[in-house]
């Protein structure tokens, strides 16, 4: 059995139907969708039981009503992306920095660029936006239009 399907089975075993979708587009790539409240639990499971130790980055995408968040991990030689949706009406996610210390800057980055609030983040300052950037303007949201110059 391949590593991909092995991880898939273990996740299904541990979280049953709460794992809403698993996609394996090719070898060494895997996309797993979970509901927002389950994210921390799944990450803890990946770390404790599957030996995952590396977070590659966090991608956030404006998809209309929601913001899609993808946590990319490196786990047993493959890249596992954990997908979840956060409603724009209440764009709050829990911090994963205590579990994965490497996530600290990636969480700060998406806070500024997409307006996600990371709850209990140890250092919630801006990362890339200038100091005099207006509060509440998030450049990577789709409603932010770049003026042609």
């Amino acid at each position: 059995m391949s590593v991909e399907s092995d991880i898939q089975n273990k996740l299904k075993e541990a979280f049953a139907e709460q794992i809403t979708e698993v996609k394996i587009p090719r070898e060494r790539r895997m996309f797993v969708q979970v509901p927002l409240p389950l994210v921390k639990q799944v990450i803890e499971y990946l770390k404790q039981d599957l030996g995952m130790s590396h977070i590659t980055t966090i991608t956030a995408i404006d998809v209309g009503e929601d913001i899609e968040v993808l946590y990319h991990f490196f786990c047993q030689g493959l890249t596992l992306s954990l997908r979840t949706f956060v409603p724009k009406a209440n764009p709050v996610i829990d911090t994963i920095t205590p579990i994965m210390p490497g996530a600290i800057l990636y969480e700060r980055e998406i806070q500024g660029l997409l307006g996600l609030k990371v709850k209990e983040h140890p250092d919630p300052r801006r990362l890339v936006l200038p100091e005099d950037w207006e509060e509440g303007v998030y450049p990577l949201r789709k409603d932010y239009k770049v003026k042609e110059g």
């Binding site: 590659t56 210390p101 801006r126």
Partner: protein, 404 residues
């Protein structure tokens, strides 16, 4: 007594803008805080506006040193979305440029490391020899820095039979010089004194803080995208993943120098085994909806592009994670407890590329507070107020503010 001093964003010891706020206890670093973003250019937003062909050239401009790494990562992501099968010759040429770029980047780094250590002879020598690889890149692509060799489906320029001996000759010269640098790095007493045990990053910490590239490999973490997630022509090539258990600046140096030798070996193999055939496959302009995670081992470490397509000729989202950002938590860790005089070399040891890291300031600012352009007087005033805010703080000896 603790003293807090700001270093940068503009400072003689820094090559690119970044701000380090260092809290010192005597000469030792008690705490350090890094402020990024001075080079933020809105490239991720820009990529959503352009089409896929334009974005190849935009992503090459994320970085002035590893432009090939970025455009390769982007192109192979789009190729995967399209399900394109690339001709082998195209893949080999693409890989050749990636490896030549690594040689140029690592030799550039070696020079900077020498300079930061006060060993300027090394800087002069390695930058002189770096010209050999720059000339080879110019010979193949016509350019020294932004090679623009990539296109969706392959590469844009072929390698003729006439230039192959020239490339082999250049690689031979580079190999000889690099062996000499390896000897210098492992025997020169001044060099060893300034690098051994400096900027320690134990293996467990490198794993915990998710370090990548030569920074991680210099701490014994055996991970290289070329080996562990092979792409382009790497599955056909014969090479070793270089690691070192020294966990200090010396370890990172040795890893880079040995990697140059591995790259030379790969380049020679590519030139000798270059397959015949086409250099690119025909690619449509529009990309069907989908998502892809494309990885590459850039000279500084693992580089990630996440691309989402929406069925049109421009991407829905392009996310770029450059290796320097991944190494910032590690460099903070290795600076703590060290001496202030070691800041330049420890910071340089991750081979920071701030242009890559910050990649993403806006092309234009609408909120009215910031002007599109600043006149010299305004800029001067702005910087004076900014540095006032970062005033040197020492409870006992309040240093007078000179900017009045």
């Amino acid at each position: 007594m603790a003293v807090t001093i700001p270093i940068g964003p503009q400072h003689p010891a820094l090559k690119e803008p970044i701000n380090l706020t260092v809290t010192l206890d005597g000469e030792q670093i008690a705490d350090i805080d890094i402020r990024l973003g001075y080079n933020h250019r809105g490239i991720e937003k820009g990529a959503e506006l352009g089409n896929y062909i334009q974005d190849i050239y935009l992503t090459s401009r994320v970085c002035g040193i590893c432009s090939m790494a970025h455009s390769t990562t982007f192109s192979q992501g789009v190729e995967e979305l399209l399900g394109l099968e690339l001709p082998k010759r195209g893949l080999f040429i693409r890989t050749l440029i990636c490896e030549l770029e690594r040689i140029h980047s690592h030799l550039l780094w070696l020079g900077i490391a020498g300079h930061e250590l006060g060993f300027d002879t090394l800087f002069m020598y390695s930058w002189r020899d770096r010209e050999i690889v720059m000339d080879l890149l110019e010979l193949i692509s016509g350019n020294r820095v932004n090679y623009e060799m990539n296109t969706i489906g392959g590469v844009r320029r072929d390698i003729s039979d006439e230039v192959r001996p020239q490339i082999l000759q250049g690689i031979k010269q580079l190999e000889e010089r690099t062996k000499y640098y390896l000897e210098v790095a492992s025997t020169e007493v001044t060099f060893l004194r300034r690098t051994e045990g400096v900027g320690m990053l134990p293996k467990e910490k490198a794993i915990e803080l998710c370090a990548v590239g030569p920074t991680a490999r210099g701490s014994g973490v055996e991970y290289d995208v070329r080996k562990h997630d092979p792409f382009a022509a790497y599955p056909y090539l014969d090479f070793k993943v270089i690691t070192s258990d020294l966990c200090d600046v010396l370890g990172r140096t040795v890893v880079r120098v040995l990697e140059v030798l591995e790259s030379c070996k790969m380049c020679r193999q590519i030139i000798e085994e270059l397959p015949q055939g086409e250099i690119k496959a025909k690619a449509p302009r529009k990309v069907p909806p989908g998502e892809v995670l494309s990885k590459n081992e850039a000279p500084r470490g693992e580089l990630i592009h996440y691309i989402r397509s929406n069925g049109t000729d421009h991407p829905e989202r392009v996310k770029i994670r450059a290796p320097t950002l991944a190494n910032i938590p590690s460099v903070i860790h290795s600076l703590k407890g060290g001496y202030i005089a070691d800041i330049p070399i420890v910071f340089a040891a991750i081979d920071p590329c701030l242009a890559c890291m910050d990649r993403t300031i806006l092309l234009d600012i609408e909120n009215g507070k910031r002007k599109d352009t600043m006149r010299w007087e305004e800029l001067r005033k702005y910087s004076i107020t900014w540095y006032k805010g970062k005033e040197i703080r020492n409870p006992k000896y309040q240093i007078q503010n000179k900017f009045k």
